[in-house]
Symmetry: C2
Subunit: 157 residues, 2 copies
DNA sequence: TTCGTAAGTTGGAAATTCAAACCCTCCCGT
DNA sequence: ACGGGAGGGTTTGAATTTCCAACTTACGAA
C-alpha cells in the first residue's frame, strides 16, 4: 500500500521519538546513564508509575537501547544498562539539559553540573563534523529526499 | 511545603520535557524551524490531530518557544515561528535526527539531508565548550547539586 | 514466623488521544 | 446573490493511556 495523503513527513526525528519520545523514556535513559539502573531507583528518580515504567523498559530493551543485566541470582534481580545505541542518545540528553538549564532556571540554581575530563565544567556545543563550526540555524539548509515533501525557505527570527 | 519523598529527581531534562516532551511538540518545532508554520501544514506534516495541535501550539506559545505572527489581515491568518528560545532547541532536533539516521535506517535512505554553510553535508558533533573535544560518556562526571540526590558511579557498556 | 526488599503485575478510575464533523470568516467566480 | 473553497480552528464521543494503590512472588534476616 502506498503513502496515503495523510501520512506525515518521513523523518528520522519522528522515528526516534516514536521509540524514546513517550513520557518517562528519556528520564529512564538519563538515570540508566547515571548508573541508577534498578527498578525501584527508576521509580523514585523518574517519578514514573511502576506499571508504566515496566512497559517503557520492555520497549527500550526491545529497541536495543537498554539491556537487562542480572546482578543477583537468588533472588533474581536485574538492573538496566544502556547499550551502545543507548549511550549514543546521550548527546540528546546533554543538549536538552543545557537548554533547560539556560531557559527554565534563573541563574545558578542548576540541579546538576557535569565535569568534563578536560577539567572544566561541561557545556555542550553542537558543531559541524566537516568544518568544526558551531551549528547555527542560518547556516543550515534542509534538503528533503522524498518527492512531495518540501520546506518553505529560511525562517528568520 | 517541602519535597515529598515521592518527588522525582530535580532535573532540567525533566523540566524541558515537561514543556516540549508531549507527543508532536518536537515535530511541530521541526516544521516551524523548516518554515512550515501554518496550521494546515502542521497538521499534514506532523500527523497531529487538529485539536491536539491547537493545544500544543497554545502551550508552545505560552512557553515562549513559538510566536504567532499575522501573515494576512482580512481574512486574519496566522503562522507560527520559532522564537530565539525555540531556535535554541534546534541542537536537540539535530542530535535526535542524527541518532535516528544512524540507528533506525539502513544505509543511505535518509529522508532529509542538511547542507552546512561550509559546503559539506551537516553531521552534528557534540563537543565541550571549554576544550573543544567531543563529548564521550566516560569523559563526563555528574555532580548533583541537590542534597539527597546521588549517582552510582560510571556505567561501562 | 514475621519483617523487609526488590521487581514487577493487576484492577479500576481519571485523563488524553483520536477521527470526523462542524463552525466562522473571508475571497472568488458566475 | 449564490455557491464553493481555503484557512484556522472547536466540538463530540469513542478508544487509549495514564495513574495509583494494592497485590504477588521470591528471597534473606531477626
Amino acid at each position: 500500500m502506498a503513502a496515503s495523503p495523510k501520512d506525515p513527513r518521513p523523518c528520522s526525528i519522528a522515528d526516534a521519538l516514536a521509540l524514546v519520545g513517550e513520557k518517562y523514556s528519556l528520564l529512564v535513559l538519563r538515570e540508566v546513564c547515571l548508573g541508577n539502573g534498578r527498578f525501584d531507583q527508576l521509580v523514585r528518580n523518574t517519578g514514573a508509575p511502576r506499571d508504566v515504567l515496566a512497559t517503557r523498559l520492555r520497549r527500550l530493551v526491545d529497541a536495543g537501547i537498554l539491556a537487562k543485566r542480572l546482578y543477583s541470582e537468588r533472588p533474581q534481580r536485574f538492573e538496566y544498562r544502556p547499550t551502545r545505541a543507548g549511550l549514543e542518545l546521550e548527546p540528546v540528553l546533554l543538549t536538552l539539559k543545557d537548554w533547560g538549564d539556560r531557559h527554565l532556571r534563573q541563574d545558578g540554581d542548576l540541579p546538576m553540573l557535569l565535569d568534563h575530563s578536560c577539567g572544566e565544567t561541561f557545556v555542550p556545543v553542537v558543531t559541524c563534523r566537516a568544518c568544526g563550526g558551531e551549528a547555527r540555524h542560518e547556516g543550515l539548509t534542509a534538503r528533503p529526499q522524498t518527492p512531495g515533501w518540501t520546506v518553505s525557505g529560511p525562517t528568520a527570527a
